[in-house]
């Protein structure tokens, strides 16, 4: 492709302008998270903040709010649940494709269809049964539900991935005398490490950013994930955290997934597209 030079200059200009507009809210976020309540007013809104004030606000987030505890909870959920979902999903995918499980496709279809319904369809019975089973407001309950919600996508992607591995690989391993479990753990899992990573990253981000399930299934600060806590900070007017502190909290909470996203951009696009075929 060799577009004309003026064409490229025009395109770069349009993109740069649009990109600048896109960065305005980011600038406002950074600038005002770096102001103390005293320095913050309507007239100083557009002025840059200072690093010391930003640090001060972050300290207030760390000491004066439930955010640190919530971050710890969310870290557990978004590492453990996707890990479980990825391993189980790979197992399902392996069983369906390689072992040619009887009615494998049907099983797979059943699992996949379950994920089409909006979460809203599940939350009432979920809340109800969690209260009865004593899982409401518990770490176990949250890890469990996040793993289950992540499983269909994971199974789906892994099935597609295993479908692309030649059958002769499996047959050769069998001829060499390897047991099925060994084939799975020493051949198929290592071969699919990149796909596993894609799925894990996408799911971890999803769990990290979840608001609905956390809002409905938790209550105490020992289990509540970070997004419900952040919305809660914002709506406590008077007596709650000041607005610049809330902005600092928003930055803090976004950092892990933002960094993860920026280093693994390519995988994101690939993974997102995978989910739809």
């Amino acid at each position: 492709m060799t577009p004309s030079r003026t064409g490229i200059i025009l395109r770069v200009t349009v993109l740069a302008l649009l990109g600048a507009i896109w960065l305005v809210p980011v600038y406002l976020l950074l600038a005002n998270a770096g102001k103390t309540v005293g320095n913050y007013s309507g007239s100083t809104l557009w002025q840059p903040g200072s690093l010391t004030d930003l640090w001060d606000n972050l300290r207030q987030v760390a000491t004066g709010t439930d955010i640190p505890r919530a971050l710890a909870n969310t870290a557990v959920y978004s590492v453990v649940a996707p890990a479980i979902a990825v391993v189980l999903g790979a197992t399902v995918g392996f069983a369906v494709i390689v072992l040619k499980l009887r009615n494998g496709f049907l099983w797979f279809f059943v699992i996949y269809c379950g994920s089409v319904f909006p979460l809203q369809m599940l939350v009432i019975p979920l809340f109800d049964s969690y209260s009865r089973l004593g899982l409401y407001d518990s770490l176990t309950g949250m890890v469990l539900i996040y793993s289950i919600v992540c499983l269909p996508f994971s199974a789906f992607v892994m099935r597609n991935f295993f479908a692309g591995i030649a059958e002769s690989v499996f047959e050769a391993a069998v001829v060499d005398g390897a047991k099925t479990l060994r084939i799975f753990t020493t051949i198929y899992l290592p071969m699919s490490s990149s796909a596993l990573a894609v799925v894990f990253i996408l799911q971890a981000t999803w769990v990290w950013n979840d608001l609905l399930l956390g809002l409905i299934l938790t209550q105490s600060d020992t289990t509540r994930p970070v997004m419900p806590v952040l919305t809660g900070l914002q709506s406590t007017e008077g007596g709650g955290a000041s607005y610049t502190v809330v902005l600092a909290a928003a930055i803090l909470v976004s950092l892990p997934t933002a960094l993860l996203f920026l280093v693994s951009q390519r995988y994101f696009a690939k993974g997102l597209a995978l989910g739809q075929y």
Binding site: M1, P3, V12, V14, L15, A16, L18, G19, A20, W22, L23, P25, V26, L28, L29, G42, S43, L45, W46, V110, C113, G114, S115, V116, F117, P118, L119, Q120, M121, L122, V123, I124, P125, F127, D128, N209, L211, L212, L215, I216, M227, L230, T231, Q234, S235, Y243, V246, A250, I251, V253, S254, T257, A258, F261, Q265, F268, A269, L272, A273, Q276
Partner: protein
């Protein structure tokens, strides 16, 4: 899996025909909940707002995402130009809500900027008046969503074979003509993904609204997902909440089926491209 995904669906279906406050036992009331739902102004407002969300999500993030992808394709260093659009995508819906309610609140950054530039619009109460509040929240969500759509379209553009483009260029096609007759039809797989995702996400909108207005003031900016949440978990009317959940699910599943079927029949009927 069956237990977790299908049983709840059936149970929600059952609850929607009962009167239940979360305690005691559900009491069968027939279609009362559905009748009440269609007469409820909060629900009807939510249907309207959700429609604004779906249309807005289709027009803004998809349109702008395509524009960014096409403009930033095919020359060196273009990845850097896409980066500003990806930064918001890395934020959660809640963080986006926090930033935008800060900008749009009374006396917020936008009002300040308009005052400074002597532009009209300083008297607008962005998050208080309906349907303005829904429209600005759609824009906030678009701010977040453009990047990922641009990314998906870029992947799509990269997978387009070079030969048809070269052939068309030799025949003298350039610019808009080249795009509309060659690139756009060949981009169909990506468009399918992006449009399908956008419809479903628009229907299920929850996070940004919950973080910005909680559906208020006076339930005027609720989407169906918020109405369902409020009816059930705030007002403890499980029957009504279930009815809204059923309505939302039927629409979501229906929309994806219709959309996918249309796409599938199109791709098998017209392999040669075109409309």
């Amino acid at each position: 899996m069956l237990l977790v995904f299908y049983l709840p669906v059936l149970y929600t279906f059952y609850l929607s025909f009962t009167e239940y406050n979360g305690l005691g036992t559900p009491e069968f009331v027939g279609v009362d909940n559905f009748a009440a739902m269609f007469g409820d102004s909060a629900f009807l407002g939510a249907v309207r707002n959700t429609m604004i969300w779906v249309v807005g999500t289709l027009v803004l993030p998809v349109g702008l995402g395509l524009l960014v992808a096409v403009l930033a394709y095919g020359f060196r260093g273009s990845g850097w130009l896409r980066l500003p659009f990806l930064v918001p995508y890395a934020l959660s819906g809640v963080a986006v809500g926090v930033i935008w309610s800060f900008m749009l609140g009374s006396g917020g950054a936008l009002t300040q900027a308009l005052q400074f530039l002597n532009l009209p619009g300083t008297e607008l109460r962005w998050l208080q008046d309906s349907p303005l509040n829904t429209v600005v929240m759609v824009i906030a969500a678009a701010w977040q969503g453009v990047g990922v759509n641009a990314l998906l379209f870029t992947v799509g553009l990269q997978s387009i074979p070079k030969e048809p483009l070269e052939a068309a260029r030799i025949d003298g096609a350039t610019g808009w003509r080249l795009f509309s007759t060659i690139t756009w039809p060949l981009l169909r797989p990506s468009t399918t993904v992006v449009v399908g995702l956008s419809i479903v996400n628009g229907l299920k909108t929850f996070d940004v609204v919950q973080a910005m207005t909680q559906g208020g003031p006076a339930r005027s900016s609720e989407t169906l997902a918020l109405t369902m949440y409020r009816d059930t978990f705030v007002n403890s009317d499980y029957g009504l909440g279930s009815a809204v959940a059923i309505f939302l699910s039927v629409v979501t599943v229906g929309a994806s089926i219709i959309y996918l079927r249309r796409q599938l029949s199109l791709s098998s009927a017209s392999l040669g491209g075109g409309k």
